[in-house]
């Protein structure tokens, strides 16, 4: 398994309390204990119902636009993608601020927002439904989850 390494900086007091906690909880190293603490926090957030942001990368994907299919460039975090544009199609950068969220397995546009950040926020919420649905599309209703803005 590929493993990354981090160096965490600590002041003297932090170092003492982390070492003590790691020893008390039976961890082999303070680093292993810190990793557990970070993972516990993220798990608690997930259990509390707060969506965890997805990790995004640039890519090209298929989208079903109004009356046609197209390949668009945008950002992807499976099973979601976002691109700069509306259901009518991609928009040249800098012209308007519309961004659309796409469910990649079907290419369906789920919603159009005024920022990519809003697309990503909805994707983070829908990811929970997607996992619960064992990989099925988050909404059983063929209508968009949120009404799309006019182009």
């Amino acid at each position: 398994m590929k493993v990354a390494s981090y160096t965490v900086h600590a002041d003297a007091q932090q170092s003492v309390r982390w070492n003590r906690a790691a020893e008390g909880e039976g961890y082999a190293s303070t680093g292993a204990w810190l990793a557990m603490a970070a993972d516990s926090y993220l798990k608690a957030r997930a259990r509390a119902g707060m969506p965890i942001p997805l990790a995004w990368r640039r890519g090209r994907f298929r989208v079903i636009l109004e009356g046609r299919e197209a390949m668009v460039s945008g950002q992807m975090s499976l099973p979601f993608g976002t691109y700069h544009g509306t259901p009518s199609g991609p928009i040249p950068h800098g012209s308007t601020k519309y961004h659309s969220l796409v469910y990649l397995p079907t290419g369906r546009i789920m919603a159009t927002f005024r920022s990519a950040r809003q697309c990503k926020a909805l994707a983070a919420e829908l990811a929970r439904l997607w996992v619960r649905g064992d990989g099925s599309e988050p909404s059983g209703n063929p209508a968009p989850v949120l009404p799309s803005l006019p182009a």
Binding site: M1, K2, V3, A4, S5, Y6, T7, V8, H9, A10, D11, A12, Q14, S15, R17, W18, A21, S29, T30, G31, A32, W33, L34, A35, A37, A38, D39, S40, Y41, L42, I52, P53, L54, A55
Partner: protein, 87 residues
């Protein structure tokens, strides 16, 4: 809280703790650091470690308070001594 990175360590943070991470942990911590406006995953780990201990202490204080409410002041300590005496 915003997305802007900012200094996340105290200037006194001179000690270093190595942490190893799987790919999944790396991705999750880096995204969480960004979301919390921290400059690095390491800063997020430091913050999470302190938060973990603060929450643990708050939980233990709440349990103690609850036990004291049931058994009077010092009730929790009394019960702990009784448990230790039984061993």
């Amino acid at each position: 809280m915003g997305w802007d990175s900012k200094a996340s360590y105290s200037p006194l943070a001179g000690r270093k703790v190595p942490v190893r991470a799987t790919d999944a942990q790396k991705a999750a911590w880096e995204v969480a650091a960004k979301k919390h406006g921290m400059a690095s995953a390491g800063a997020f780990l430091a913050w999470a470690g302190d938060l973990y201990l603060a929450l643990l202490r708050a939980y233990q204080d709440a349990v103690q308070e609850h036990d004291d409410a049931l058994e009077g002041p010092g009730g929790a300590d009394r019960r702990r001594r009784e448990r230790e005496g039984e061993r």
